[in-house]
């Protein structure tokens, strides 16, 4: 009997051993695999409880995929493994995922299945997440009711191309459809026919007036500390206001509450340091990002060398720095206080001089200093508090200041025999723009299908441009001429905004975001009121296709006073005044958005936009506009633009391809310039951006980006009449504004990342980039060249062509980044 039992047991054991793998496979579920991901990579999942995750999973085990990671030389390449795991795990399950920092948000691909409540997977980790975060994460889908909205994860910037050694937020946005970049290499953002000064840049909810370093080569946003960027071109939610054309809402990251880590990077032009960690574990964290250019470290010794070779003194120096700092304290999961500081400054100096003494009774010395400085300081205190399960608030107090200085100093002394002459001349301009603001935002969910947001802002603006001129002349120590003139034109205004918006899911297939914003400004005894309706509608057509429609009105009460189209910091900001009314835009947009299988996304969006009370400078000044008569120097006009933007993206675990195409028209009407509509100078009919990223193995990745747009427009003499005489006169005429097309713009950027691991186990990245790889000399300015030739036969010859000035050739750059 024992033998029989032994035999049966043996047979059963053999049978079981034969089917064991199959049984094991049957026992794997989405939940179990998610747990493997959690244990290996430390991420949590947030999902609608209606989503079935206890269903069998028969695909490639997560353990197998993650085995490669254990052998990887890139310990910080978790993101790639995470994406690979998620893609494998949820393929064909009807579940969509989104990676949000340390949380993975799972949603139903079928949007008609409404979420019920939200579950946090891995309960033991619940202290790291709160309802506010869940709400923020899960409402993302509803946010996308908006047309023309793009959310870019902070990590995307660091994986993108890096011109001159640093990844850049604005350079990334410039590639998007509907955005004209203006002058080569600058940080210009001309969004859907905008004028470049009508973009609302928010750093943690606080407006920034100047967003560029090095005249636009770098933007003010340090990608190391950027959590995400929400970029709106249309369908603006009512919570945003104050500018006409776009919103760039940059949010910086809170520091890690558990561990210290950071990165250090040094590149061709700048160095970066970022460090974060807990101050009080799980309660208080900090995150600091610092950038500084080090071009001056190179120029200083070169200038010293030049100066030492001759009597003349010569010194040229340029440097910029910026600092982002965030300290956040969590009183509880529902109660958080944070302090944000951003400071940045650029300073350029050119010093020439001479100091010589050819004889005992004669000596002379002089020094000329030219300087250009500008910078921002932004501070804010935020208090986020959830006072009921469905009701929360965010209170913010902030101060932002932007100042610039452009000056020239001349001083010298000549001693000839007994005669001692001294002089000192100084003149220049400086400006300061500052805001003091209080902001309250509330979020309320009265029902499952409604999300109300409402709030108010109170702002005090102070603008102070100053012109100065100081002259002092002395003879033998006695003052012979003295003059100290300065003119300032301070202005101030009070502005208040109120808004309310409701994100609604009215049916299974129809969602809407309806809002209203009221803005009022008091300026020099005059009140301007603005009521701005906002509406965004989304119709879901099947599982993969959305139709969206939006209408929005925006007003702008602050105006950039600039005498040229160069984005120089010599421009200054001024408020609307009794003479200058607020500018206003109206935009209607609609589109089709399709998510095909295999992560292929396609969208086409059209828009029509009008701009009123646009301002243009009359343009017969130097680079600094007049500070006292600036209102007289402006003319008022209108603008309109329309077009279509298409986007096609696809990606897998190794390759990502993006293609954007824009077909657009942009026109202006300034009756002081021309009695009819004319082309805007950034009326780039076609714009095409192709970007590809490919990872080869574990250590190497490369990217390439080709950008093309039709040339802009300039005003040039197009017609003429000759008086018929040899050596006679040719009278030339302008057929209209912006009547000459400048050459098309195109360039190719290429970059390579090489990943290594240091002996201490830290990840290091070498980045090599080529900006403008085939050295296309795209012009930053163009003009008409014409020469007349009168011959003996009384026949006039003519040379007539355009001349473009390109100053940006192929620019190789490198950077080395060490994460610790």
């Amino acid at each position: 009997m024992k033998h029989v039992l032994l035999l049966i047991t043996t047979i059963c054991a053999m049978a079981l051993s034969a089917v064991a793998p199959a049984l094991a496979q049957q026992s794997r579920t989405l939940r179990s695999e998610m747990k493997v991901i959690h244990e290996s990579l430390g991420v949590n999942f947030v999902y609608d409880s209606a989503i079935e995750i206890d269903v069998p999973y028969s695909g490639k085990p997560m353990k197998d995929i993650l085995k490669g990671r254990q052998n990887s030389v890139m310990p910080d390449s978790d993101r790639e493994y995470l994406e690979l795991c998620l893609q494998t795990l949820f393929a064909g399950t009807g579940i969509e995922y989104e990676i949000m920092k340390k949380y993975i948000v799972l949603t139903q691909a079928d949007k008609r299945k409404k979420p019920k409540d939200y579950t946090i997977f891995i309960e033991e980790q619940h202290d790291t997440i709160n309802e506010a975060i869940i709400t923020a994460l899960t409402s993302k889908e509803i946010n996308r009711t908006q047309t023309g909205m793009q959310k870019i994860d902070g990590k995307a910037f660091n994986r993108g191309f890096a011109v001159l050694s640093s990844p850049d937020v604005l350079k990334t946005l410039q590639q998007l459809p509907g955005v004209a970049s203006g002058t080569e290499l600058m940080s210009g953002m001309y969004v859907r026919g905008g004028d470049g000064a009508d973009n609302l840049y928010l750093m943690d909810g606080v407006p920034l007036y100047q967003v560029s370093h090095l005249l636009g080569l770098f933007s003010s946003f340090n990608s190391d500390v950027v959590e995400s960027v929400d970029f709106y071109k249309s369908g603006f939610p009512a919570r945003y206001g104050g500018r006409m054309s776009s919103v760039v809402d940059v949010k910086t990251r809170e520091g890690d509450y558990k561990n210290y880590h950071g990165l250090f990077s040094i590149g061709l032009l700048d160095g970066r340091l970022q460090f974060e960690g807990p101050i009080w574990k799980d309660r208080t964290s900090f995150n600091i990002g610092l950038r500084r250019s080090w071009l001056d470290v190179l120029t200083e010794p070169v200038c010293f060398l030049i100066s030492s070779l001759e009597e003349s003194k010569f010194r040229i120096k340029y440097a910029f720095w910026d600092l982002n700092a965030n300290v956040t304290h969590k009183f509880s999961n529902d109660n958080k206080l944070s302090l944000n500081v951003y400071g940045g400054r650029d300073a350029a100096k050119l010093i020439t001089g001479n100091d010589r003494q050819p004889s005992d009774d004669y000596s002379s010395k002089y020094m000329t200093r030219w300087g250009l400085e500008w910078g921002n300081l932004v501070t804010s205190i935020d208090w986020d508090y959830k006072f009921a399960p469905d009701h929360e608030t965010s209170l913010k107090a902030y101060y932002t200041i932007y100042d610039s200085l452009f000056g020239l100093n001349d001083e010298g002394q000549t001693i000839s025999g007994q005669r001692d002459e001294e002089y000192y001349y100084s003149n220049g301009n400086k400006s300061r723009t500052s805001d003091l603001g209080l902001k309250a935002d509330f979020s309320y969910r009265p029902a499952e299908n409604h999300h109300l947001r409402y709030g108010a802002t109170l702002k005090y603006h102070f603008y102070n441009p100053v012109s100065y001129s100081v002259e002092n002349e002395k003879l033998d120590g006695k003052v012979t001429h003295e003059q100290d003139l300065s003119q300032s034109a301070p202005r101030q205004s009070f502005e208040s905004d109120l808004y309310i918006e409701d994100e609604m899911s009215l049916t299974d297939w129809f969602t809407a975001n309806i809002g209203l914003r009221y803005a009022a400004i008091a300026t020099e005894g005059k009140w301007y009121h603005s009521i701005e309706p906002r509406a965004a509608l989304r119709f879901q057509c099947g599982d993969y296709t959305d139709l969206k429609l939006s209408y929005s009105e925006m007003s702008q009460n602050s105006h950039l006073i600039s005498s040229t189209y160069l984005q120089l910091p010599t421009s200054f900001w001024m408020p609307s005044t009794p003479k200058i009314a607020p500018s206003r835009s109206r935009q209607i947009a609609g589109g089709v958005y399709v998510n095909f299988p295999h992560n292929i996304k396609f969208s086409v969006e059209g828009y029509y936009k009008t701009l009123s009370n646009l301002l243009e400078f009359r343009g017969r000044w130097g680079i600094y506009p007049p500070i006292t008569r600036w209102e007289d120097a402006l003319v008022v006009g209108k603008g309109r633009s329309w077009g279509a933007e298409t986007s096609l993206t696809c990606s897998d675990e190794k390759t990502s391809v993006e293609a954007y195409y824009t077909l657009s028209w942009s026109q202006r009407f300034f009756p002081d310039f021309y009695p009819e509509w004319y082309k805007d100078r950034n009326d780039n009919r076609h714009k095409l951006t192709l970007t590809a990223t490919r990872r080869f193995g574990k250590r190497f990745e490369m990217y390439a980006s080709w950008n093309y747009h039709s040339g802009g427009w300039m005003t040039g003499e197009s017609h003429g009449i000759w008086d018929g005489e040899i050596g006679g006169e040719v009278e030339t005429f302008y057929a209209g504004p912006n009547n000459m097309k400048v050459p098309d713009y195109h360039r190719l950027d290429i970059g390579f990342n090489f990943h290594r691991t240091t002996k201490r186990g830290n990840e290091s990245i070498w980045n090599l980039s080529l900006y403008n790889a085939y050295c296309r000399m795209n012009p930053i300015a163009s003009q008409i060249e014409k020469y007349y030739d009168f011959t003996e036969e009384n026949i006039m010859g003519l040379t007539y062509y355009g001349a473009g000035y390109g100053i940006i050739p192929i620019l190789p750059s490198f950077s080395y980044t060490l994460k610790f």
Binding site: I306, S312, F314, T352, N427, S467, Q483, L485, S486, S563, T564, Y565, L566, F617, R618, G619, R620, P626, I627, R629, V635, P671, D672, Y674, P675, G712, T715, G716, E717, S718, H719, G720, I721, W722, D723, V730, T732, F733, Y734, A735, G736, P737, N738, M740, V742, A781, S782, Q783, I784, L798, Y800, Y801, G802, A803, G804, Y805, G806, I807, I808, P809
Partner: protein, 313 residues
Amino acid sequence: MKNKYILILLFALTGCKYPFDLDQKDVKPMPVVRGYMCADSAVTINIHKIVPLSQLATADTTLINPCYSLRCNGTEVDVDAAMIGEGGMAIHADAFRSGDKIELVFESDDTETAVAGTVIPGNFPEYELELCKSNNAERNLKIRYKDDPDTDDWYGAVVKWNGIQVMDVGLMNPKYKEVTDQDIVPPSGYNDMQLEPEAYSPIILSFNGDYLYIWKDSEEEDNEYDLSFNYRPRWDGYVAEVKDTEIQCTLFKLSEEMYRYLFAQFDHKNNPFKDAGLSSPAFTYSNVRNGVGYLCGYSIVRSEWIKDNLFEE
């Protein structure tokens, strides 16, 4: 000096100027219309054909089969036409009056139909003149006038003077010369007392050879315009001083088109960035549809001669 060469070398290494074609294949000849029409004075309007600059060496600028029509308040007026230099033509008509609405339609064989129109403005409103000393020039002429705050109006002024010039031919033997109908000299550029030039009360240097000051009304009923001027250029070392002067002011009321055109001309002369495409196209104004140029009106009144007694104070 070497520093400059180093900078130039740096720019040469990194910078590049390259030519590109200005595509004028589809650019056609067009008429240029030039007509300042003064109320109650005979009218002359000059029209020429201008050609794309790339064709300037070969194209004929003669107007071929010109056809034109000049209307006043919708009624065609009788005109005389004559050929003028460079293949153009001049249209002469009798005087128009203030308030007349004028429209010109013109076409020729190889130009599109061009249309231009304007309204001859009314007279300069009731005014007072006061001559004062100025902070930034030798004299300041205050022009006080009543203005309709509900309408946009555009004005101008030309000042002439009579008097005696003291010629500096050696301090011991000054020479005196009596002069009439002399041009005043506007203050220009930076000066001792003011950081910013007078640029936003624009001065047109070449309206019939006179300095014409132009301005736009404000929204107030009682207006005052300060016209600053010098009797002679500050750098004039030949005329040491002037004395026993009197001035006369010619006051203009301008049509909107004339104000804008003159302002655009002023912008064109003074815009350092205009040819590099770096500034607004403020200098391109034209009110001729399918053409370029101007058809605009104005009216004038002349003041009495005002004695300048400020030398004696």
